[in-house]
Structure formats: C-alpha cells, structure tokens
C-alpha cells in the first residue's frame, strides 16, 4: 500500500491485493525458525504437564480465572501478587524500548502474531495456488471450476488453522484435556465455543484477507514505534547512493540497482523499499534476501538493500566503508535499556524466590475506629486475610509483634490464637485487640503494630503492618 496518486479524487480506495513472491535467504530462514518456535509454543503450551500434587491442576501454563490462580511451571501467582504481572508489563515496555531503539520494528517483522499467521496463510496459499505469477493469473481469471476448487481448498485449510488457533487459546484457561473432551462432546461452556468462534473468525479474516491492512490502518504500534527510533536505529533501507541511477547493468552510468523489482515482488506489504523508510514497512527483511540473491547473480556485492541506520547514509556517501551493525546496536541508549530491563528481571526473580508459602494482610476496621468496653478497655477490630499457598492444611498461629500488652482475641474462637486454614485457600478471620484505658496506646492516637503469623509445623512465617487507634483524635 504505497501512497498512490488519487486519480478519481475519491475519499475511499479499494484494497490493492498483494501477491508476495517466494524468496529464500538468511532472513527468510530466520523467519521460518521464529514461526516454528512461536507457533509451537502457542499450540502446544497448554499441553505441557506439570505435577503439583493431587489438589492442584497438572497443567504447566494455566490461567485459572475461576479459582483466581495463575500457574506457570513451578510458579504460582495469586491475585494479591499482581505486582508480578505489573513487573512483567514494565519489562515488556522496556523490552519494546530496547528492541525498537536498536532494531526498529523488529517485533512487527518477525514475532507479531499478525505477521506470523499471515506468513503461515501465505505459505498455504502458495502450496494450493502456486507462486506469485500463478496467483496473479488466478486472481484475474474468471470463476471457473478450477478457481472455485483452488479457492475452496485454500479457505478450508485456513479455516482448520483458524479453528485450531482459536481452540488453542481457550486451553490456557481451563484444564486442557477435560476441556478438549467436553468440546468434542458439545458439553463445554457456550463461552468456550463463542471464544473459539470469535478467534477463529478474526484469524481467518485477518490472516487471509486483511493482512497488511491491519498493520497500516488498525495497529497503533507503527505510530508508537516510529516515535522511539533515532538516527542510529537499524531499519531496512536501500543504499540509493550505490543503486541510483537504476537501470540496465551494461550501461556504465547506471548504479547497482537493475530495477528488476525483486524487492517489490516479495514484499508482503506491497511497497517499494527504494522509496525510503515508510510507514508501511514492517522490516521483515525479505527484500534484503531477494536483492542479495539478484546481486549474487549479477556478480555485485550483497547489501544494496540492508539493515541500515539513518547516519549510515552521510557516512557512506562520503566514501567510508559500512559500519558494522553491532556498533549501531551497542550504544549508550540501548545499554541503559538493557541494564534496566535486567535489573527488574533480577529483582522479580529474587522476589519470586523469597516468597513464603503463607501470607497475611491485615485491615483495621475503621467504622468505628475504636470501641470502649464497659470496663473502659479500648478495643480495635481487624480483618486478617490468611493465605495458605501450600498443598496441605496449615495451622496459623497469630501474635502481635512489639505489643505484649495487647490482648488478642480471634472471633468465634475464644482464647485460642491459632486458626486452621485449608490448603490452597484464603481465610478471612476477624480479630480484636484490646488494651486497658490507661495504656499509652489507648490514650494516644495511632500506634504502629505488626501482626505475625507462624506456621508451627513448617516454620514459615509472615507479617503485616497495621495500626491501633487510640481515643485521641
């Protein structure tokens, strides 16, 4: 989708079909590898088993929305630990800064689901209908029986892939094997069928028909990423100073570009990279492979189209040799992003490993903030959320740190200060703290306290800060 003249002066234009030609080369091979890895992770992820004991799910990756748990191999995240997700999002943000400042829209070109599935759909298209020229002919041909047959076969394969794609998604949210059985028996929740259908439809339409339109008109990333690039960022570009003026090879006044249009024909976005860096380019680098192939055939150096930074132009125009890509990537800005990214990552891994398998949070009841008992004792009410993340029942022993004068009483448990919390669950326990009226905490305003929770058998403990409200305003 290049910016074309607008001859009919219309406000709207029809989509111009793109027929990317098959290409081979180092970047194409890299893209195949990325596609195999990402699709394998996506489709097989929910089927990796992971033993967590009898009461917990045995699926390695599971977002259990019903029970509000997220399982990732040995890691189990509870809702109150959402800060791990926040940390991951910050890392994703910094990762975006890092990769965009170093390599431009590398995400778009290699790893974006829209790119990966479009690539897969184009692969199917080529198997069924042939390469670019055959597809062009078929596109312009009348709707004969052969065209119908080829189109239907292609669409059928696309639909199978689409349903598989929508289907794989739902397995991340429920036990995969149970859900698979229910799905086949038409027993599963209608939400599941709805999700699968919706995702299958979007996969089919986005990968089969919308393709580059999604990137150009619907996706916000190109705009955001364009704002994060600088003159040192590597993008796919054409060495116009080497290629121009383009034309036949045997004329000596011509540059290296023989205007064979190989780079245009392989482009999945339908653009001409020789016009310079443009909004539509997803930097998939297939034009580099195509051009390198042609340069090899005509006996010229590779890299007429290459990963280049903006500064390279002035540098190379002055006759100096090309700068190594690694020198563009390793600079202060990218190093800072890399360091920040790693620090947060290390911090999160550390936080993951020091987590206790029991946890407590305390909320003082503030309405009213304190109660006067008949003998003048001042009492505060608290609600403690006791979390037992272990696979077995635990006995939580409660105590107040730094406040031996406080009388601790658990609701409905009399003088007992231990409460049984069932395995893998949260238990809400109200408790009371009382001090005589002549105690400084009773006379004062706020007294900081710490509630300790000990598990007698495992020895794990956790604490939560709270306050005691005295009568003083």
């Amino acid at each position: 989708m290049t910016l074309k003249p607008n001859p009919i002066n219309s406000l709207y234009i029809a989509q111009e079909p793109v027929f990317p030609k098959r290409v081979d080369g180092s970047f194409r091979r890299l893209k195949w590898v990325v596609m195999i890895i990402t699709l394998t992770i996506y489709y097989l992820g929910p089927w990796i088993p992971w033993d967590r004991g009898p009461k917990l799910p045995d699926q390695a990756i599971l977002v259990d929305l019903v029970h509000r748990r997220f399982y990732f191999f040995w890691i189990e995240i509870w809702p109150h630990e959402f800060y791990f997700v926040a940390g991951l999002l910050i890392m994703a943000g910094l990762g975006l800064f890092l990769f965009t400042s170093a390599l431009g829209r590398v995400w778009c070109g290699y790893a974006c689901p829209q790119t990966v599935w479009t690539d897969l759909f184009i692969l199917v298209e080529r198997w069924v209908e042939g390469d670019r020229n055959a597809r062009l002919r078929l596109f312009h041909a009348k709707w004969t029986l052969k065209k119908w047959r080829l189109r239907l076969i292609k669409w059928m394969i696309w639909i199978v892939i689409s349903i598989g794609t929508g289907g794989a998604w739902v397995f991340y949210f429920m036990d995969a094997s149970d859900l698979m059985r229910d799905l086949w028996a038409f027993n599963a929740n209608p939400v599941m069928y709805g999700s699968i259908s919706f995702l299958a439809l979007t996969t089919f339409v986005f990968g089969g028909f919308m393709r580059e339109q999604i990137c150009i008109y619907m996706c916000p990333w190109p705009r955001i990423q364009a704002a994060m690039m600088d003159v040192e960022t590597l993008t796919v570009a054409y060495r116009s100073w080497r290629g121009e003026p383009r034309g036949k090879k045997r004329l000596s006044e011509h540059g290296d570009c023989i205007d064979c249009k190989a780079c245009v024909n392989v482009c999945p976005m339908g653009i001409d990279i020789r016009e310079g860096q443009q909004l539509e380019c997803i930097t998939c680098a297939l034009c580099i492979d195509a051009c390198d192939d042609v340069m090899a055939k005509i006996g010229r150096d590779r890299g007429l189209i290459d990963y280049l930074a903006l500064v390279d132009e002035t540098y190379e125009r002055s006759g100096r040799p090309p700068v190594a890509a690694s020198r563009h990537i390793l600079r202060l800005r990218t190093s800072l992003y890399g360091v920040l990214w790693s620090l947060i990552g290390i911090g999160m891994v550390y936080a993951l490993f020091i987590r206790s398998d029991i946890d407590v949070t305390v909320r003082p009841v503030r309405n009213p903030s304190f109660i006067v008992q008949s003998d003048g004792t001042i009492r505060n009410i608290y609600e403690a959320r006791l979390r037992n993340k272990a696979g077995e029942d635990r006995l939580f022993h409660l105590s107040i740190g730094g406040g031996e004068d406080f009388e601790l009483k658990l609701e409905a448990l009399g003088s007992d200060v231990a409460v049984k919390v069932p395995a893998d669950s949260t238990y809400l326990q109200r408790f009371y703290l009382s001090v005589p009226r002549d105690h400084p905490a009773a006379k004062g305003s706020l007294t900081p306290l710490k509630l300790w929770v000990n598990d007698v058998f495992s020895g794990s403990r956790a604490s939560s800060k709270t306050i005691f409200n005295g009568v003083k305003k």
Binding site: S10, P368, I371, Q373, S374, G376, E411, A412, R430, R437
Partner: protein, 287 residues
C-alpha cells in the same frame, strides 16, 4: 527510465491544500473496508436502539423488543438465589438459637445474609459499622441494655423497644425527675452517678446516696449495675449512651430518656430475623 524513478511518489499525491511551515497534508484516501465497517456500526446502532431500551419518553422509555431490563434481571437473580438457599433458610429457621451458633457453616451463611439485612434496615440508626451514635447503642461493645445473649438479641429485634404496635415489645420508662426533685437534688444526684462510673476522670466515690436509693435503685438496682430485664443501664460502666458529662446526665435525670426501636418481626422474614440476630451477636460483644 531513471528519470521516471527519480520522481518521488509523494509529490504526485493530491494534498488538502493545508500548509504549515512548509509541511503539507496529503489527501490520502481511506480504505473502502473502513467505510463499510463504519456503515456496519451504524446498522448495529440502529439494531441496538430497537432491541434495547433507548428512546426516552415522558413517563418511561422505549422497551426494546428483547424486553431487557435491569429490574427484571435483579428479580430473576433474587428468585434464583432464594431458591438456591431455601434449604439453608429452612435449617436456619428450625434450628434452636443456642445450637445454631455451633454450626460453623450455618453461621457463615447467617453472617453473610445478616450483614446485608443490617445494612438495609439497621444501619440508619446504629451506623453501617454498628458503632452506634448518641442515643443509638453501639452494638460492638460488651454492654447490652436488654441482654446480649443470642436469645435476648433476637427478642429485641423481633419485638422492638418501647414499640406500641407490638404487645410483646420491651417497654420501660425512666421518669422525668424535674417534677419530683429540686434542682440542687438533681445536681447532687448527677454528680453521684458520674462518680459511680468507671470513667477515667471519676473522682472519689461519694458515700451511699440517699437520693439514689430512694429514686433510682428501683430500676438501676442498689449497687447501680442496672437491670437487663427492665432495660435499665449499668451506671457503673464506662459506656454512656446519652453522654457522661454533668450537663447530659442532669438532662437525663430531669427529662428522662425514651429510646425506641421498631419491631422487625412485623416486617422481616424469619430467616432474615435469625440472620441479623446472628450477625449482631457476632459483632464482638455477644454473650
């Protein structure tokens, strides 16, 4: 050939004619599918208007052919929940009050149900946190005018206090002593009563007071600890519903106090009454 390709395509694109500091705005056409998407959303909007309540009229709004309404949804949900918990309600109503508190699961249900009953019907006077207010008892403490056992609490909730519509209501009335006592007698009595209380600033207890024994001990008992069967408050504790300063106590003795409470047995279902009794008992002061 080379001449043609020298031209940048951008130069051939029509512009809107707008220029800012030499920057021109290209008149790039929108994709046609975008237009169709726009039409589709308009169509969707029209369907929505017909299907759901949308057009406001003077009294009400258009109903929409799907007949959707939040009120109907709520009624349906309530009916569903009522049916779902009917068996628990049955156990709640039939179990003996004293034994009910031993059934942890039933107590959990009653607490959950009772808390919403409390918010709807009790919090207006006793406060959302049950902390009470001037003249409205705090239900979190261990002081109970009419008794703090689950049976006493349930009775009070059922029949109310000084409620003339309920023959079984608990009724007692503190006389207004400004008719029978002189002003200085009321002051002496007030000072004596304050000294009894376990208040922080209470001075030396004055010796047995003739005035108290003659006028007050009938209800509040000789040692001033009150009487729950009469709703007469304990005057020796730290909790004073109508204030413990000399002005407040003088006013209480002079004019009497007459706190009232509705008889909820007339208005709430048996399961609601049981639930809210368990809830109030479980607030921390229940005996």
């Amino acid at each position: 050939m080379s001449e043609k390709s020298e031209k940048t395509p951008v130069a051939e694109v029509e512009t809107t004619g707008h220029r800012w500091d030499g920057i021109e705005e290209l008149n790039t056409p929108l994709p046609r599918w975008w237009l169709w998407t726009f039409y589709a959303t308009i169509f969707w909007g029209l369907v929505y208007v017909v299907a759901y309540p949308a057009v406001p009229f003077k009294e009400s709004s258009s109903k929409g052919f799907l007949g959707w309404s939040t009120r109907a949804n709520l009624a349906k949900e309530l009916k569903h929940q009522t049916k779902k918990y009917a068996h628990l309600d049955q156990i709640l109503i039939t179990t003996d009050l004293g034994k009910l508190l031993n059934d942890r699961e039933l107590v959990q249900y009653a607490l959950a149900r009772g808390s919403s009953v409390f918010i709807s019907h009790c919090s207006q006077c006793h406060g959302a946190g049950a902390g009470g207010a001037f003249g409205y008892p705090n239900l979190l403490d261990d002081d109970w005018l009419w008794g703090g056992s689950i049976e006493n609490i349930a009775y009070t909730i059922n029949h109310g206090i000084r409620n003339t519509t309920d023959p079984d209501s608990q009724i007692s009335e503190m006389p207004a002593f400004d008719q029978t006592l002189k002003h200085d007698e009321i002051v002496t009595l007030a000072q004596y009563v304050i000294s009894l209380a376990k208040l922080e600033n209470a001075g030396e207890k004055t010796p047995e007071n003739e005035l108290f024994l003659e006028n007050c001990s009938g209800c509040h008992s000789e040692n001033a600890t009150g009487d729950e069967t009469l709703g007469a408050p304990d005057l020796t504790d730290a909790i004073w519903l109508y204030g413990s300063d000399i002005v407040s106590v003088k006013k209480t003795i002079s004019s009497g106090r007459y706190g009232v409470m509705p008889a909820w047995g007339q208005r709430l279902s048996p399961a609601d009454l049981r639930s809210v009794s368990v809830y109030v008992h479980g607030l921390g002061g229940g005996e």
